[in-house]
Symmetry: C2
Subunit: 496 residues, 2 copies
C-alpha cells in the first residue's frame, strides 16, 4: 500500500500535466491561434479548468491530505514543503464550486475576445457588460475564498499569485512609494537630457537574430523553448518547454530586445526550477513577485545598466549595422533609461512604472469592494492618472482598456509587478555582493556566474520556502526591503 | 430533469473539448515543439488520453446510454445517429482498462521519440525494443476489444478508424488491386515519357505564398486555420481551428504545393462538418477512408488533372517566375503524373501507392497475429517490397522505419489510404456527373461549385450515416466500388 503522501504525489503530477496542457493552449491562443478559433478554444480551456478543479476537490484528496499531515515524521524538508503547497492548492480550489470556476473561465475568454476589438475601436461601452460579468464573478470567487480562509476578499485573490502576502504589506510598501516617487520623478525629469534620435530601422529578422543571441548569452536553451511573436510579450509553456514571446517594430529595435530579455529572465526561472520536483507543487516558482523579480533583474537591473550597454553597443553595430551617437553605450543609456510621464504601463520606465501599478491597485480594490462600478472605470482612470502621474488620458484605448489582466479575471495580480521590481533590486544587490567583478563579466557578455548564482539561490528553490519573504531572507539576508529599490532609483537616475 | 440524451450530450461535449485540447497539443508537438519538450509533452498527452478514457467509461455513461436508447421515440434522425455514435465510442473505450490506454500512449510517445533519431541513423536495433513494446500493447488492446465486440483482433483495430469495415472487405478490394496493379504498372512504365528536367529553385517564401493562394482558392478560411511546416505534412487541430502543415524544399516546389493541396482537402472536410453538431460524436468525420477520399479527391483527382494544370501553370509563371517546358501545363502533367517503382510511400504516385499500402497491411496483420516478430520486420519488409513493387530496399531508414504510424501505435490505419483513393475516384466521378462543365471551372481556378457539392454531399453529413458505404450510397448511388478507381488509373495513365 502506497503512503498517503505518495498517492497525493501521483494525483498532483496528473494535475500538473493537465495544467501543463492548459498552459500550452494558452500560449497557442496568444501566439498562434487564428481569431476564428477563439470560441472553440475558450470551451477547451474552460473544460481543462473545470477538470483540474474537480481533480483537486475530490474527497479522497482531503482524506489523503489529512492522513499525510498526521504522518509527517518520515518526510524530508522538500516533502513537507510539498505537502504544505498541496494543502494550499486544495484550500484554494475547494473554496469554490466548479460551476463558478467554469463560469469565470468562460466569462474571461468572452471578455478578452470582445476587448481585442473594443480596445482597437476605443469602445468602452461595448466592453462594459462583459467586464461587469467578469467583475461580478471575481467578487463571488473572492468572497467564497475569503470566507474559507478567514481573510479579506482582496487578500484571497492576492494569495493566488503571492501566497502569504496581504494588502496590509502592499499598502505599507505602496504608501512609501506614493510618498517619494512623485518628487523623485520631478527631480529626474528636471535634470534628464533628451535622448539622441535614432532614425535607423532594423529588419524584424535582424531583431529576432539579436534577441536569440542575447537569450542564448543568458543561457536560455532553445532545445527546451521557443521565441515567437505576440501582441503583448509574455512567458508561457512549461519548465521543460518554455515559450517566450516578443514583438517586432522595425522603427524600434530596442522595443523587441528588452521585452525578449525580460521574458528571458522569466524563462530562466522556469528552466531552473528543481527538475526532481517538476510535476509537484513545491517544484513551481515561488510566486508572481519572485517571478517578476527575475525578469526585472535581467531587464532593468542588468540590461539597462552601463556594463550591459557596453556589451550591447558593439553587438548592435556588428549585427544591426547601426552607428552614431544613438547607438554607442552612452547614447543607448540615455535611451533605455529615459524617464517620462506616459499613458501605457508596458512602455513605462522603471521610475514611473510603480505609479501605474499603484493606480491599478487602488482601482481594483475599489471595484472588488463595490466602491467603484465598472461603468465608472473610465472616469476613475482619468482622475487617478491625473493625480498620480500628472497626465491627461485622451481616450479609453490608452486608458482603462490598455491591459488584458482584468479582462481575463486577473484581479490581485498587478501589485506583484512592483513587489517584483523591489525584490529585483534587492536580489541583484546581493548578487553583486556575492560575485565580485560581476560588472566586468557583463561587459564581456558573460552571464554565467550571475545565472548560476540566481539558479542556486532562487530558481532551484522552487517553493521550498513558505513565502517570498522567507526566500528573500535565505537569498539576501532579509525580507522584502523597499529601500533598496529606492536607493537603486536614486543612484541610477539622480547621482553623478 | 434533463433527459438522458441531453445529459449525454453535455458529457460528450466535454469529452470533445478534452480531445480538442489533445489535438492542439499533438499539432504543436509536430509543428512547434522543441525536441527537449517531448518527454513532458508525452506525459501531458497520456494524461489527457487517460482522462478522456475515464470520462467515457463512467458507470453513469452506461446507464444514460441505456436510458436514452429505450426512449428514442422523441429523437430525430441526427439525434439517433448521435446516440449510435455515442454507443460506439463507449463500447470502444469500455473494452479497455485505463492503465492500458495510458501505457500505450506513453509507449507510443517514447517509441516515436526514439524513432526520430534511430531512423536518421538507420538504426533499427535501437528502435526494435521500443516498437516491440508498442506492438505488445497494441496486441493487448486489440485482443480486449475483439473479445468485447466479438470480432477479430484486426477488425477491432480497424474499427477505430473505419467503423463498419472489416478485413474481409479489405481483402476483397486489395486482392483485386494486387491482381491487376503489377501488370498495369508494367504497361504504364513501358509507355511513359521521362518528365522534363526542372532545375529552377523556388524560395520557400514564394512556395508558401503559392500554397496559401491555392488553399484560399479552394475556399480554406485562414481565419479558422493555419499553414505551418512539419517533417510530414498532416492536418490537425479542430473544426474551428484547422492546422495544416506542409514542408518546403527549394529544389522541389511541387513537393510543397501538392502536400498543401492534399491537406487542404482534409481541412475543407473538417471545416465543412455540421456546425450544429461540432462537439458531438455525430458531428465528426465519417472515418479515415472518407477523410482520405477528400484529400485525394483534391490532390489526385483534381490537382493532377489537365484542367487544374492549365490553371496552375500561369500561376507558377507569374508568382514563381519560372518558365520553359517543365513548367507549362504539359510539362507539369508529365511531372505530377510520373509513375515509378520507389521506396517511399509518401512520395509514391497514385499507381504504385496501393502496393505500398497492401505491403504494410499484410505486415501489420502478421505482426498482430503473432506470425511476424518485430525483430524480423526489416527482412519481411525487403521481401515484400521485392515481391509487390519489384524493388530492392537498401536500408531500413527508407524501408521499415520510414513511417510514423506503427511507432505511434496506429495499426489498422494504413488500409484507409487506399480505400480513400478508391472512394475519391468514385466521389469525383459523381461530382463530375452532377456538375456539368466542372473542368471549365477548374481551368479558371474556380472551385466553388465543386466544394459546395462536396460540402452538401459529404462534409456536412458528419457521421449521420452508419458507415462509409451508406454515405457513399447517398452521395454516389452505390457502396465503395473499386472498379471506378481502376478505370481512373487506366484512363489517366494508359489511354490516348
Amino acid at each position: 500500500m502506497k503512503s498517503a503522501y505518495i498517492q497525493l504525489c501521483g494525483r498532483f503530477a496528473r494535475l500538473a500535466n493537465l495544467n501543463g496542457a492548459a498552459a500550452m493552449l494558452h500560449w497557442d491562443a496568444a501566439a498562434m491561434m487564428p481569431s476564428g478559433g477563439a470560441a472553440a478554444r475558450a470551451e477547451q480551456e474552460a473544460t481543462l479548468s473545470l477538470l483540474a478543479h474537480e481533480m483537486l476537490c475530490q474527497d479522497e484528496v482531503a482524506d489523503l491530505l489529512h492522513q499525510a499531515e498526521t504522518a509527517m515524521d518520515h518526510l524530508g524538508l522538500w516533502e513537507r514543503a510539498n505537502l504544505r503547497e498541496m494543502r494550499r492548492k486544495y484550500a484554494h480550489a475547494s473554496a469554490l464550486p466548479g460551476t463558478l470556476v467554469a463560469a469565470l473561465s468562460r466569462a474571461g475568454s468572452a471578455c478578452e475576445r470582445v476587448w481585442r476589438t473594443a480596445r482597437a475601436n476605443d469602445d468602452f461601452a461595448t466592453l462594459c457588460p462583459y467586464l461587469e460579468e467578469v467583475v461580478a464573478l471575481v467578487r463571488e470567487t473572492a468572497a467564497a475564498q475569503a470566507e474559507a480562509f478567514g481573510c479579506s476578499s482582496y487578500d484571497a485573490l492576492l494569495s493566488q499569485y503571492e501566497p502569504g502576502m496581504s494588502a496590509v504589506d502592499i499598502d505599507r510598501n505602496f504608501d512609501v512609494l506614493a510618498g517619494y516617487l512623485p518628487d523623485l520623478l520631478d527631480r529626474v525629469l528636471a535634470r534628464q537630457v533628451a535622448p539622441p534620435a535614432a532614425p535607423e530601422r532594423l529588419e524584424a529578422a535582424i531583431q529576432e537574430g539579436l534577441s536569440r543571441h542575447l537569450l542564448e548569452a543568458l543561457g536560455f536553451d532553445f532545445n527546451h523553448g521557443r521565441l515567437d511573436v505576440s501582441l503583448h510579450p509574455f512567458t508561457g509553456g512549461v519548465a521543460d518547454d518554455v515559450r517566450l514571446t516578443t514583438r517586432y517594430d522595425e522603427a524600434d529595435p530596442l522595443g523587441s530586445l528588452y521585452p525578449a530579455l525580460h521574458e528571458g529572465g522569466h524563462g530562466m526561472y522556469e528552466r531552473g526550477l528543481p527538475p526532481a520536483w517538476r510535476l509537484q507543487p513545491v517544484g513551481q516558482a515561488m510566486g508572481m513577485a519572485m517571478h517578476e523579480s527575475q525578469s526585472l533583474l535581467i531587464e532593468m537591473q542588468v540590461c539597462r545598466g552601463d556594463a550591459f550597454l557596453r556589451y550591447l553597443a558593439p553587438l548592435l553595430r556588428d549585427r544591426g549595422g547601426v552607428s552614431g551617437p544613438a547607438w554607442d553605450a552612452e547614447g543607448l543609456a540615455r535611451r533605455v533609461r529615459h524617464v517620462a510621464r506616459s499613458l501605457i504601463r508596458v512602455e513605462a520606465d522603471e521610475v514611473t512604472y510603480p505609479l501605474h501599478i499603484i493606480h491599478r491597485y487602488r482601482l481594483e480594490r475599489a471595484m472588488l469592494a463595490g466602491d467603484l462600478e465598472v461603468a465608472d472605470l473610465p472616469t476613475a482612470w482619468r482622475m487617478g492618472m491625473a493625480q498620480l502621474l500628472g497626465i491627461a488620458v485622451p481616450n479609453d484605448r490608452d486608458g482603462c482598456m490598455q491591459d488584458i489582466h482584468w479582462m481575463d479575471g486577473a484581479f490581485g495580480y498587478f501589485p506583484t509587478y512592483t513587489l517584483g521590481a523591489m525584490a529585483a533590486a534587492q536580489v541583484y544587490r546581493a548578487a553583486e555582493a556575492a560575485l565580485p567583478g560581476l560588472s566586468g563579466d557583463i561587459v564581456q557578455g558573460n552571464f554565467g556566474r550571475l545565472m548560476k548564482w540566481l539558479g542556486q539561490m532562487v530558481h532551484s528553490q522552487g517553493r521550498l520556502h513558505a513565502s517570498t519573504d522567507d526566500l528573500l531572507c535565505a537569498a539576501t539576508g532579509r525580507p522584502l526591503d523597499g529601500t533598496i529599490f529606492r536607493q537603486h532609483l536614486e543612484k541610477r537616475y539622480l547621482a553623478g
